[in-house]
């Protein structure tokens, strides 16, 4: 049924997967495709299991079973890592973008190796005419090119100024081909950067088709240069979002989209739910930055560090919210893999929230962060503390896990600061 409906899409289907960034990448790509006037069918943000994809197709088809205007329509589906084999088999995609492979909610999925196996299995069932859009900087993703007979479109960062030496959340240390230990000329976060394997000689491709350089990050946007596009601006910040943008640009090029719509699509993208969404409460700008795993948290902390180092920076006000429900990962051990330490000297006020607020507060104490002004499990009390300790005009970076974001946003909605979002699952 799903395959039959997808078969109606004259523009075919493309999939976006990876541990982090699939929602943002899909959103950037959708923005570009809208600028290109490409009719689009996509699943709801985060509804990235097979049933989310199916329900997008079913609701487009309606009772007639025919998708109106399907002749030119393209299906763009954000796809959960473990769902990829089924999605690839059912949808026969034209292209699949892989953003990265990090450890994520281990008590749910098993280990990183099993996700990689899901992907290998998915590619075995994917037509070789499909293009793989691959992150050159992530050796786990790059490895998917081994044995792939179809076309590959590479993307990567050229940003030596963002190199790190901190050691947390290293999620791929060895070459799957030969067992060699990866070496790095530079590393951005986790195992992502200019890698090479001394064993078999595999290395990051030297010239990815889509590269970002001269990257400048500010609180609300990023600016970078892409060959062919020139300098582009995007109202999302952080090196990780630049990488997500590259995935979207590379996919757009695979789809034959011209430069104009790509540049306008980047400029016009809006933040996804909780991903650098700004909510104004009593004049304070709360900047919601969802984190789901150690690598994602390190990416956000790297961004905060970059903002703290920028010329006109003030001490950062940061609230960290840790929940331990199913969707967050019930094991909170991962917080010890996050490099909170480098930010310790750049902080103003700190608050801690979530169902496991005391665990989070202890992690931050041991990272030598300033003592939290409040450790509050209740979102309402936490928000009161944030408002009490700040003034109108202040920026507050709110860093929650997934259900902590839902809880906190719920409180913001009760106070009329945001509209109610439709929350799935």
């Amino acid at each position: 049924m799903v395959a039959r409906l997808a078969g109606q899409l004259g523009g075919g289907c493309v999939l976006v997967t990876g541990t982090n960034g699939k929602t943002t990448t899909s959103r950037v790509l959708a923005s570009i495709l809208r600028e290109a006037r490409q009719p689009l069918l996509h699943n709801r943000e985060g509804s990235n299991l097979m049933r989310g994809i199916a329900s997008a197709l079913l609701s487009a088809a309606g009772p007639s079973g025919r998708i109106a205007g399907s002749e030119r329509m393209l299906g763009l589906f954000e796809t959960d890592e473990a769902t990829l084999p089924a999605a690839a088999r059912t949808l026969a995609p034209r292209a699949i973008a892989f953003t990265n492979l990090f450890r994520d909610q281990l008590d749910r999925y098993g280990e990183v190796d099993s996700v990689f196996e899901f992907w290998r299995r998915a590619l075995a069932g994917t037509p070789a005419s499909a293009t793989l859009v691959l992150n050159a900087d992530d050796p786990s993703v790059a490895e998917l090119a081994e044995g792939w007979s179809g076309p590959v479109e590479w993307f990567g960062l050229d940003a030596p100024e963002f190199a790190t030496t901190s050691g947390g959340a290293f999620d791929a240390r060895w070459c799957r081909e030969c067992g060699g230990t990866f070496e790095y000329d530079l590393r951005y976060f986790a195992h992502v950067g200019y890698w090479r394997c001394p064993g078999c000689g595999r290395a990051r491709v030297e010239r990815p088709a889509v590269v970002a350089r001269q990257i400048t990050l500010s609180v609300e946007s990023s600016m970078f240069v892409v060959d062919g596009l020139g300098a582009v601006t995007m109202p999302l910040t952080g090196l990780y979002n630049v990488s997500n943008a590259l995935a979207a640009i590379a996919m757009a090029r695979v789809l034959g989209i011209e430069d104009g719509p790509i540049v306008r699509g980047l400029a016009g993208v809006e933040a996804a739910f909780g991903r650098q969404e700004t909510v104004v409460v009593e004049g304070r700008k709360l900047r919601l930055m969802l984190v789901k795993n150690p690598a994602g948290a390190n990416q956000v902390l790297q961004l905060l560090g970059a903002l703290a180092r920028s010329a006109d920076s003030k001490p950062l006000h940061v609230a960290v919210l840790l929940n331990d429900r199913f969707a967050d990962g019930q094991d909170v051990s991962w917080t010890w893999d996050v490099d909170f330490e480098p930010l310790a000297q750049s902080l103003g006020r700190v608050w801690v929230g979530g169902t496991r607020a005391p665990d989070m507060a202890l992690r931050l104490k041991y990272a030598h962060w300033p003592a939290a002004a409040a450790v509050e499990e209740s979102p309402a009390t936490l928000l009161d503390a944030i408002l009490r300790d700040t003034s109108a005009g202040d920026d507050v970076f709110v860093v929650p896990t997934y259900t902590a974001l839902l809880d906190f946003r719920g409180e913001l909605a009760r106070r009329g600061a945001v509209g109610e979002f439709w929350v799935h699952e």
Partner: protein
């Protein structure tokens, strides 16, 4: 006992060997090294944490505490051989009272052997008289919040292991399960303890929110250096106790002792 007699000498510095920190750190076990360091420095005891990687020279006699965490199966196999080359030295240090902490995969390799799901055997270093068997992919992993009673008090953390560990009759466990699975989801035992060596499945990380264990390791190390009269100055543990309570509360939300069907 006067302060002068009971406090460690000021110039004292402890050396902690962190075995395979890059390989055996799948569930935030580096928090254990962070906690030992924090709790020493809070008492004016200097600390040096030395990472021992595959192939690095390593003489346990040059250290005061040894810690090792857990890894993915693939990673565990990688270090097993290297660890074997250090087995004799580590066993001698354990017999001599050196404090050690081995978590999850590291704990398994401190036993006699690990038998994987295909029947392949990885030899351990036999500090604990026990063996671990993987019951196969069809059997559920032991995953969840866990609480123990131990001679060091109530201990809380998170377990996530496929292998089932069986202690010899003469091998003491580290604690008894109050909530969770424990060594083998059968006998209610958790971990192992021999002299000052503690083995356990508990992540969390374990030591930050169970400061009594961290202090037990630190005190044992100081006493080996400076004699039995040494005691530890109490430090402010409010945040540690709050995290402990939070972890216990999380564990109490799930059924009591979990067993294999």
């Amino acid at each position: 006992m006067s302060d002068a007699a009971s406090s460690p000498p000021h110039a004292l510095s402890l050396r902690i060997a962190h075995l395979y920190p890059d390989v055996m750190n799948i569930y935030g076990d580096r928090g254990n090294a962070i906690a030992l360091q924090y709790r020493c420095e809070a008492r004016g005891i200097a600390v040096e944490v030395v990472d021992i990687r595959l192939g690095d020279p390593f003489d346990p006699a040059a250290f005061d505490i040894v810690i090792i965490g857990g890894g993915q199966d693939r990673e565990q196999r990688r270090i097993a051989e290297d660890l074997q080359s250090r087995a004799e030295a580590l066993r001698a240090a354990a017999t001599d009272g050196m404090p050690m902490l081995a978590v999850c995969g590291g704990f398994q390799l401190f036993g006699r052997r690990y038998v994987d799901q295909d029947g392949g055997t990885i030899p351990g270093i036999s500090i604990f008289d026990m063996e671990t068997r993987h019951p196969g992919a069809a059997v559920q992993r032991c995953i969840g919040d866990i609480v123990l009673t131990t001679p060091l008090g109530e201990v809380a953390g998170f377990e996530n292991h496929g292998g089932r560990t069986y202690l010899a009759d003469t091998q003491a466990p580290f604690g008894r399960v109050v909530r969770g699975y424990g060594n083998n989801a059968e006998d209610g035992g958790e971990g192992a303890r021999t002299n000052n060596v503690i083995g356990t499945y508990l992540h969390g990380s374990l030591l930050p929110k169970n400061p009594a264990i961290a202090d037990e390791l630190i005190l044992a190390a100081l006493r080996r250096r400076c004699g039995e009269a040494v005691t530890l100055t109490p430090i402010d543990d409010a945040a540690e106790q709050a995290a402990h309570t939070s972890a216990v509360t999380a564990a109490r939300r799930s059924p009591a002792i979990k067993k294999d069907p």
